[in-house]
Symmetry: none
Subunit: 335 residues, 2 copies
């Protein structure tokens, strides 16, 4: 059988008016183009292109053959377009896990919008704060928040959002404003239950300085809404995600403690078993979440009149050797 790819090469060479230009345009070696066109001409027994160094023109036969080869490529593109369109209208059922708090203040609305936008997809959502076993438990996607450095994983990961954070309390809770992290010591605090039972705030200043403050929370829970309620009632100082409390901040119901220092951000990401043969519904879901998170972040940033995080402080600032973020970027770069 003939090599259909030769038709593609031929079209590229003709359209670019030469082997060198076609090679540059397509990222293909010109020796390959030269050889493949020569082989095509040998096989069909016709000179398609008259050429020598510096001279290049397509024969009459070559011109007509080119038109037919273009028709081949148009049909091939139509086949690709069909696949792309097919993938563009995904359907089926998705099993997703998501931390409870993220559902309530950020992703719940996104899931609802997704289902409105994609009537043919069903969603089975497990609201959980535990680290699910994606493969063994049969999840298509698991949404997680982790603070860098992220641990290695066999799963593929797609970053959805930065989880910028605020250290806040009710107005008036502090008898006097404080200006240094060290002044936080001994103040009442509230926190998310930690498996390690050790609690600290990791803070960064606007000019890149970092500080770590240990504290002993007077209120521990794995219910983030309860933490927010307690803070609103003046029970203490707590670190909470921007997305959860941006309206409270805008309304003045909560105020930042140590405004010149910010807690390190987490990374909200989706993990799934494999990129290969990813169902269109899963792909669409993840793309949708990434897109909506970006849009929501812009809304919040405009409302708070400053970036969700100081621009010069990024997750890269705390990257360590063996940091899986580089691998992750490689892994999802082609999605």
């Amino acid at each position: 059988m003939q090599d259909l790819n030769d038709l593609y090469y031929f079209v590229q060479v003709v359209e670019h008016g030469g082997f060198a230009a076609a090679a540059r345009a397509t990222g293909t070696q010109k020796s390959r183009l030269s050889r493949r066109i020569a082989m095509l001409e040998d096989r069909i027994g016709v000179r398609l292109i008259q050429r020598s160094p510096r001279r290049f023109f397509v024969t009459d036969v070559g011109r007509e053959y080119y038109q037919r080869c273009v028709a081949v490529l148009i049909e091939a593109e139509a086949a690709d377009a069909f696949i792309a369109q097919h993938q563009g209208e995904p359907q089926g059922s998705l099993r997703v896990s998501c931390p409870t708090a993220l559902i309530s203040f950020q992703f719940g609305r996104l899931f609802a919008r997704f289902m409105t936008a994609h009537p043919k997809i069903s969603l089975q959502l497990e609201s959980t704060n535990r680290r699910v076993d994606v493969i063994a438990e049969g999840f298509d996607v698991s949404i997680r928040v982790r603070f860098p450095p992220l641990e290695r994983s066999e799963l593929v990961m797609r970053k959805l959002d930065d989880s910028s954070q605020y250290l806040v309390a009710r107005p008036g809770f502090l008898k006097e404003p404080i200006g240094e992290p060290a002044e936080l010591a001994g103040l009442p605090s509230l926190a998310w239950t930690s498996a390690t039972h050790s609690y600290e705030w990791r803070l960064e200043s606007a000019d890149g300085e970092q500080a770590v403050v240990r504290h002993e929370p007077r209120f521990l829970t794995d219910d983030m809404a309860a933490l927010r309620e307690a803070a609103l009632d003046g029970a203490g100082i707590v670190q909470l995600p921007t997305m959860m409390i941006w309206k409270d901040l805008a309304a003045g119901a909560l105020v930042p403690v140590l405004p010149q220092w910010r807690p390190a951000s987490g990374i909200v990401h989706a993990v799934f078993p494999s990129r290969r043969g990813l169902l269109p519904s899963v792909r669409t879901f993840i793309d949708f979440l990434a897109q909506e998170c970006t849009a929501d972040r812009l809304t919040v940033d405009e409302s708070l009149a400053w970036p969700a995080r100081p621009p010069h402080i990024t997750t890269e600032g705390i990257r360590r050797p063996g940091d899986p973020t580089r691998k992750r970027k490689d892994a999802i770069g082609t999605i």
Copy 2:
């Protein structure tokens, strides 16, 4: 870029209902088909065929994709058909050289028939006995007769005919029949002017014996028709091509001298600059000549009631090391 050949493989597998059947039908290894379809599915992210040993069915997406791939192949076949049609009706002008004698007794009629069969082709024929420089003088084809071993050439060669020969004289010229080559010595002879000015008959017997007889022609010319006329007039013994004198032999106007011995045959061949990018008109012309020569030879063989040459005596019998016939055969094997 994607591999367009995968579309072909996919269509073949679908149309044959399996990899093994498609492999048999197309002469392609099933491992290749298996791998290429798997790669295609990976690349487009869609399962096209659900299969396991003994179970095979095309998915809905696969069925629709198949339709589009068929469209691609239809266009590719249309491109091929265009080329074939283009080649099927050759046109243009041919410049050909041919020895004068060959024109008169063999090829003149063939050229006329060719032009009748191909109204769109013009022929520019140079009747010449000199060895033309095909490339420098701009010939498309040069027709030649040479006796083995043929010398090497940069030109591509296509054998057209064996030029079997007869050693003949007018009936009654010989007072007594002769039976051995040695008896030819001293008899009057006629010959084609040789550049080397040395004349010999190289003869072969029915049982493969070979003999060389030197002679001093009393008539030398480069006009083969004149040689024939002189022989018909009883001027002497001459070696002439079968095609030239087969009617004289059939009519008894000329008789073979030494019927048990035959001169070695020459090879009528066409030479042309290159096989690559051979114009359809040139290809058609050469094919036509080869075909007509074969047909004419059969006619002559039947008329003379014996083969133009004894079947066991061939040019291979006098092949020498470095003989270009082997290379020539390799060179033209794919035309």
